[in-house]
């Protein structure tokens, strides 16, 4: 089995050649890298999250969906809040209105802010709200009552497995003193909202609210 030095040289050159080839392969990967990724679909993972939500367009085929409305009040706000429109059978791609009614049961002026939670959460990017009371703060004097409107469309490219959508709104007290106060189980409403509600979140409300939540968790 022991072989002569020329045989060693031949084997050594062969293996050295493999090493040099691998060095070259490293550089060859640079130009081919993006093609490989494109061919294997490696960089498409972010695609759903980066989609741009434009105005509802009518081009994909509209299909019927059921939208239900739900209303809640966080425990720190003595308000009454209920959906007037409870359920809508609509077609995707067209605008619809839903109404809610809210009343201040307390004895002083309070300012609330509504946040939305959409179920199933996968449908969240497909609910396009063009006008919503949740975009603004809502002051109510003692005993005052108000009618709130929501104008929205469900985008036609909503994945076909979702045909029932629930929009659940919760009114929160935005007064930092009200939220900093430790409170019990009512916190549970607000947890999910962090994942789903989208536009124009009140920063002061959030920063004031978060420490209280951490403790609760």
């Amino acid at each position: 089995m022991t072989r002569s030095p020329p045989a060693h040289r031949r084997t050594a050159l062969l293996i050295g050649g493999i090493a040099l080839g691998m060095f070259g392969l490293g550089f060859a990967l640079a130009p081919y890298y993006s093609q490989i990724c494109a061919a294997l679909g490696i960089q498409v993972a972010n695609a759903p999250r980066t989609r741009v939500l434009g105005p509802p367009s009518a081009e994909p085929v509209a299909r019927p969906v059921t939208v239900r409305f739900d209303a809640n009040v966080n425990g720190n706000l003595p308000w009454e809040f209920a959906p007037v429109t409870r359920k809508l059978e609509i077609n995707t791609g067209s605008l619809h209105n839903a109404t809610f009614r809210v009343r201040n049961l307390g004895d002083r002026t309070l300012t609330g802010r509504a946040v939305v939670n959409i179920t199933p959460w996968q449908a969240t990017p497909y609910v396009d709200k063009t006008e919503c009371f949740c975009f603004q703060e809502q002051p109510l004097a003692a005993g005052e009552e108000a009618e709130l409107t929501l104008r929205f469309a469900v985008l036609p490219d909503l994945p076909s497995e979702y045909s029932n959508i629930t929009l659940s709104y919760t009114f929160m007290n935005i007064d930092p003193d009200a939220v900093a106060r430790p409170h019990g189980h009512d916190d549970d409403h607000s947890h999910d909202d962090h994942h789903s509600h989208d536009k124009g979140r009140d920063q002061a409300h959030e920063t004031a609210h978060e420490p209280a939540q951490r403790h609760a968790e």
């Binding site: 089995m1 072989r3 691998m22 060095f23 993972a45």
Partner: protein
């Protein structure tokens, strides 16, 4: 042909002395010794930086380091341990043992062997310089990237990164040359009758490791070369603004980085396949399945690299492939572990120090493998990613997996190398102190990671204080226990009970037919293999 032979013969006649013996050495035993001494030196350097890290993490808040220096030391620890300590230690044992085990007079390419060692001190100097140049005027910022050297941060680091890049080039050249030598030796220099499947597993392990090195080290050399070009020559391999992609570096790095862990572990597994049968007084259970498993590990290990990058945004199909591939590797690894256990089963086992380390490796490496499977699972990994859990995982793999295997090998063959028995009592004390303090150091880090402590961070939330304190105290004990290891080795080199040819009564293999220590030139006439 005859002139070459006689020239070689006359060269063998004179026995060089003094520094010439070492600097111009073409003798596999001397070069092996140089490799081992080099690895031991770097092991203590890397250990020193580990001690600095653990001392800093003793309490929350900043103690003695600032964040950049901390990350510099962290990078230093990883690179010195991997490239300076574990790889050269494996190469040193390979140099010493492979020719003895296959009945060859020397390595196939002795001069190349000399070159591949003597590149190392130069590379080590570059490596150490890369950590200290920032402290000199005009030295730029510190290497604060961690051993992964990800751009864009690594493009912005000062000139110390250039030292590091060239150090990696030199280390890579050294590894590739040593691997070429090992492959040629194993293919061409086996004694007559020593077929590939009669070869000791240690030689097989190094054969597979050498091929892995040949295939992946050039890739990282290419990757850091691109980094160098991006830094100085205006290219945009990794610069998104110029059409490049920093994620490309991650792919190149982990294409090398993942097989690298098998490069560190396979020689240790090979050593274990010698040690466990010797102290169980039974032949190895499942020789061929062990060899086959190593080949499967090497092959699968080359194609699962992106499990280090689950969070970069790959499609579901791609991450699923990497997840399944990674989990598949646990099958051949598990097979090897079961072969070791089956070898021990009903064997006449005794627990001398090499066997203690071997047993600890089988047990603790399995723990590390188990957390590895946890990390391979995508949804879990997204949570564990870059946490102390990962730190605990890879230290459980690398310390028992690589270093305990090397310790087992060192204690197993130290009497053969030095001709003296080491102090068994001290060695056992070293094992117990080392093994217990290792566990107390790294086991709590699992909990820290699961509770949310990130890795590579100098400061931490006070809720992590207790476990970090425990980890640091045990870590310092663990670190300083290696001084005992140093003392045992020095004591064995300087003297002690004369070792017999066959140091361990259960040991088998050609190396035990030679005297201890073996003569300067061994197997000049090839042994007969039955």
């Amino acid at each position: 042909m005859s002139t070459t032979a006689s020239a070689l013969h006359s060269e063998h006649e004179h026995h060089p002395y003094g520094w010439r013996r070492w600097l111009f050495s073409t003798n596999h035993k001397d070069i092996g010794t140089l490799y081992l001494l080099f690895a031991l030196t770097m092991f203590f350097l890397g250990g020193l930086s580990a001690m600095a890290i653990r001392a800093e993490l003793l309490y929350p808040g900043l103690q003695m380091l600032d964040p950049d220096l901390y990350n510099n030391i962290l990078t230093n620890h990883a690179l010195i341990m991997i490239f300076g300590a574990v790889m050269p230690a494996g190469a040193g044992i390979a140099n010493w043992m492979i020719p003895l085990m296959i009945g060859a007079p020397d390595m196939a390419l002795p001069r190349l062997n000399n070159l591949s060692f003597w590149i190392l001190p130069a590379a080590a100097m570059m490596l150490v310089l890369s950590f200290i140049v920032p402290f000199f005027p005009g030295g730029g910022t510190q290497v604060n990237t961690g051993w992964t050297l990800y751009p864009p941060l690594s493009v912005q680091v000062g000139m110390s990164m250039d030292f590091l890049i060239f150090a990696i080039h030199l280390l890579g050249i050294s590894s590739v040359l040593a691997s070429i030598n090992i492959i040629v030796t194993i293919l061409n220099m086996r004694a007559p009758g020593m077929t590939m499947f009669k070869m000791p597993i240690f030689c097989w392990a190094w054969f597979v490791t050498a091929f892995l090195l040949i295939l992946v080290v050039p890739i990282i050399a290419g990757g850091v070369t691109m980094l160098l070009f991006d830094r100085h020559f205006g290219t945009s391999f990794f610069n998104a603004a110029g059409g490049g992609d920093p994620v490309l570096f991650q792919h190149l790095f982990w294409f090398f980085g993942h097989p690298e862990v098998y490069i560190l572990i396979l020689p240790a597994i090979g050593a274990l396949a010698q040690v466990i049968p010797a102290f169980s007084r039974k032949p190895l259970f499942g020789y061929k399945s062990t060899v086959g498993s190593m080949l499967v590990i090497a092959t699968l290990g080359m194609v699962v690299w992106a499990h280090h990058q689950y969070t970069i945004g790959m499609s579901l199909g791609t991450v699923s492939y990497f997840m399944i591939g990674t989990i598949l590797i646990s099958i051949p690894v598990g097979l090897i572990i079961f072969n070791f256990i089956a070898t021990m089963w009903r064997g006449a086992m005794t627990f001398e120090t090499p066997m203690l380390f071997a047993t600890a490796m089988v047990l603790l490496f399995s723990f590390g493998g188990l957390t590895g499977v946890m990390l391979a699972v995508i949804p879990a990994d997204v949570q564990y990613h870059d946490s102390m859990f990962v730190v605990a995982h890879f230290h459980y793999v690398l310390i028992p997996g690589a270093i305990y295997g090397l310790f087992a090998a060192v204690f197993y063959w130290l009497p053969k190398w030095t001709g003296h028995m080491y102090d068994e009592k001290l060695a056992k004390i070293f094992f117990w102190v080392n093994m217990i303090s290792f566990n107390i150091t790294f086991f709590p880090q699992h909990f820290l990671g699961l509770a949310g402590m990130p890795r590579r961070i100098i400061d931490y939330n006070v809720i992590f204080a207790e476990f970090n304190f425990l980890s640091s105290v045990a870590g310092l004990i663990y670190g300083f226990s290696h001084l005992l290891f140093l003392y045992i080795i020095i004591k064995a080199i300087r003297g002690g009970q004369q070792a017999k040819n066959k140091v361990w009564e259960g040991a088998t293999g050609l190396e035990w037919e030679l005297p201890s220590p073996p003569p300067f030139h061994s197997w000049e006439t090839a042994p007969k293999i039955k």
